[in-house]
Symmetry: C2
């Protein structure tokens, strides 16, 4: 948030209905399943031959985001995309979202427009309709609650509980970069707070900053797997960190796992940042979270098929539950996986 917002138009002049009208006036519904959007007591959908998936996320200022270094447009984009990611991780496609906002007095109409620009851009990029929502004043801070609805063919859904012994564990893209982006932003914030005349030095860090501030959901991976007729046995998106999210799969599937540190994909710029911070690289990779990569398991017989994909890494395999859940480090030692992912309830 920039300091001087007084001269911008005031939301109170519009009122709740006026604001909703203002924010949603240009909407054109693009999905056949979106029958009626904003403007009545409820939106109307129709999914005659599909299964419908529903997910919801609550994002709170001071807990999930810090407006000191998060541009509102990026925040809107990310708020939508993290919900799309949950839909993709069911092997489904996002089609609709509702957006509810709580706005404290310090937000002007222009700010809300900027936030919505990001939401609309995400909707456009992922082919999703904004079909409803709620807008309210808040006592303090910004509140964003998004519910996303998606579709899949009747037998296409992939759950967390289907991993089988000997399945391969796969992950898309690379891990730890969003976490290192956050560390960088936090460091620059601290420097700025100590001396507000300094300018944050963020040049050359575009990749990890983008991963933190403007993540993408792996729509492309779902499409590639579909084209190759690979249906994972289980899948989740890496939002809380590899360790926590892989444990979700293992617990729900009642299996163990073994993953190998040297197989876990990590970007060069992430490694550089890890070194700059003198961190153990295991931390961002296992517990970083917010990468929104897809973590999934496939039968061993699909090894060659999946191995041909440059966007996917094989990082280990599923074993019996009694064999435990371990990371084998580059040095050959075993670390038991623990749910140390980002936990908004413990943070405050």
């Amino acid at each position: 948030m920039k300091g001087n917002v007084q001269k911008k138009p005031q939301i109170s002049e519009l009122g709740e209905f006026g604001l909703i009208e203002h924010l949603t006036k240009g909407i054109k519904l693009i999905n056949p399943s979106s029958k009626k959007g904003v403007g009545d007591d409820a939106a109307v959908l129709e999914y005659p031959d599909k299964q419908i998936v529903v997910t919801t996320d609550l994002l709170l200022e001071g807990i999930h985001f810090n407006l000191i270094y998060t541009p509102l447009k990026h925040l809107g984009y990310k708020a939508a995309v993290v919900n799309f990611s949950d839909i993709y991780s069911m092997n489904a496609r996002p089609k609709q979202i509702t957006v509810s906002l709580g706005l404290s007095k310090r937000f002007a109409l222009e700010d809300v427009d900027t936030l919505y620009e990001g939401i609309y851009l995400a909707c456009k990029n992922y082919g999703v309709d904004l079909i409803g929502g709620d807008t309210s004043a808040s006592v303090t801070g910004l509140i964003i609650s998004i519910t996303a609805i998606g579709e899949s063919g009747k037998n296409d859904l992939v759950y967390r509980d289907g991993a089988q012994i000997n399945d391969l564990i796969c992950v898309s893209g690379n891990l730890g970069s969003a976490y290192m982006g956050l560390q960088l932003l936090e460091r620059e914030k601290t420097i700025y707070e100590e001396d507000p005349t300094t300018q944050p030095d963020l040049s050359g860090y575009d990749y990890i900053l983008n991963r933190q501030l403007k993540p993408e959901a792996r729509k492309d991976i779902i499409e590639i797997l579909g084209d190759l007729e690979i249906k994972p046995t289980s899948m989740i998106d890496v939002s809380d960190g590899l360790s926590s999210d892989l444990l979700h799969i293992c617990k729900n599937s009642k299996v163990g796992c073994k993953i190998y540190q040297d197989k876990i994909p990590i970007d060069q710029s992430t490694i550089a940042m890890v070194n700059e911070f003198h961190l153990d690289p295991v931390i961002p990779v296992l517990h970083g979270g917010e990468d929104y990569e897809l973590l999934f398991t496939i039968p061993l017989k699909l090894h060659d098929k999946i191995n041909s994909l440059s966007q996917v890494s094989l990082i280990g395999h599923i074993c019996k539950e009694e064999e435990g859940r371990y990371l084998i480090t580059t040095q050959g030692s075993s670390i038991e996986l623990k749910a140390q992912g980002w936990n908004a309830l413990k943070d405050t």
Copy 2:
């Protein structure tokens, strides 16, 4: 909120996943359309021959509710019911909800359990499945975001934009009671704040207090209309006040209206309270809001059919847009309807 919450179990001991597990462990899905509920990245629904309606509401402490006089169980019940009401006002039936909570430190596990008791009771009473949600810490106050999903037959939905000239305007139950309940609670709060040794005197006011603290959605009216094969031409629930909500119908339908003060149903205990507060009775009736009664229009030819229903009052008729939108008072004067309903964005 009671004062001493320190000795209750702490939510932080459970963590986010533990809390969700704790809150949802007893759930049994009852609707055939609910295929999979809490426990994966998304819930799964199936609606082969139906239209689906989706609505969402964000409730914020200090804006929409005051925990000084709102018991948490009532709050949970109301938070769910107001969403069901939006579904009924589409002439649909609620089937699923997702519940997201933001919890500040002062809430103990017992508090959240009590809130959920109310949500589950509402779900039970209305035949709705809780299928998902999100739980987070909040910096200040309690945040409740609910999305409700409902179903209707393909041609059964009723929108706000179908009112026709000469249609009768109908409302269920009575109006203004929730507003007078709120006035009473606010008065007793002020008295208590001035002298904390006083006990609030709420005896004999059960009806209006219940209307404010534990409203019901008019499921019964939707069932009766269905049984009588009456499909309204337009419908909305009275959440912002008769004036605001009737204006929504008129604006969306591009029509005018005339309603009569002496036809508007008002309960005896509401009148008594209006007199005690020396209020103009037009205020709670037109602008009170939160009654969650159904306001709808039907063709003139259904006059006798609707007139036989004790739960429904005929309060006026739809006219041409150029004739305006007016309340005719008991004294015979005309008051132009204005959207002065409760506006959470202007309040703060």
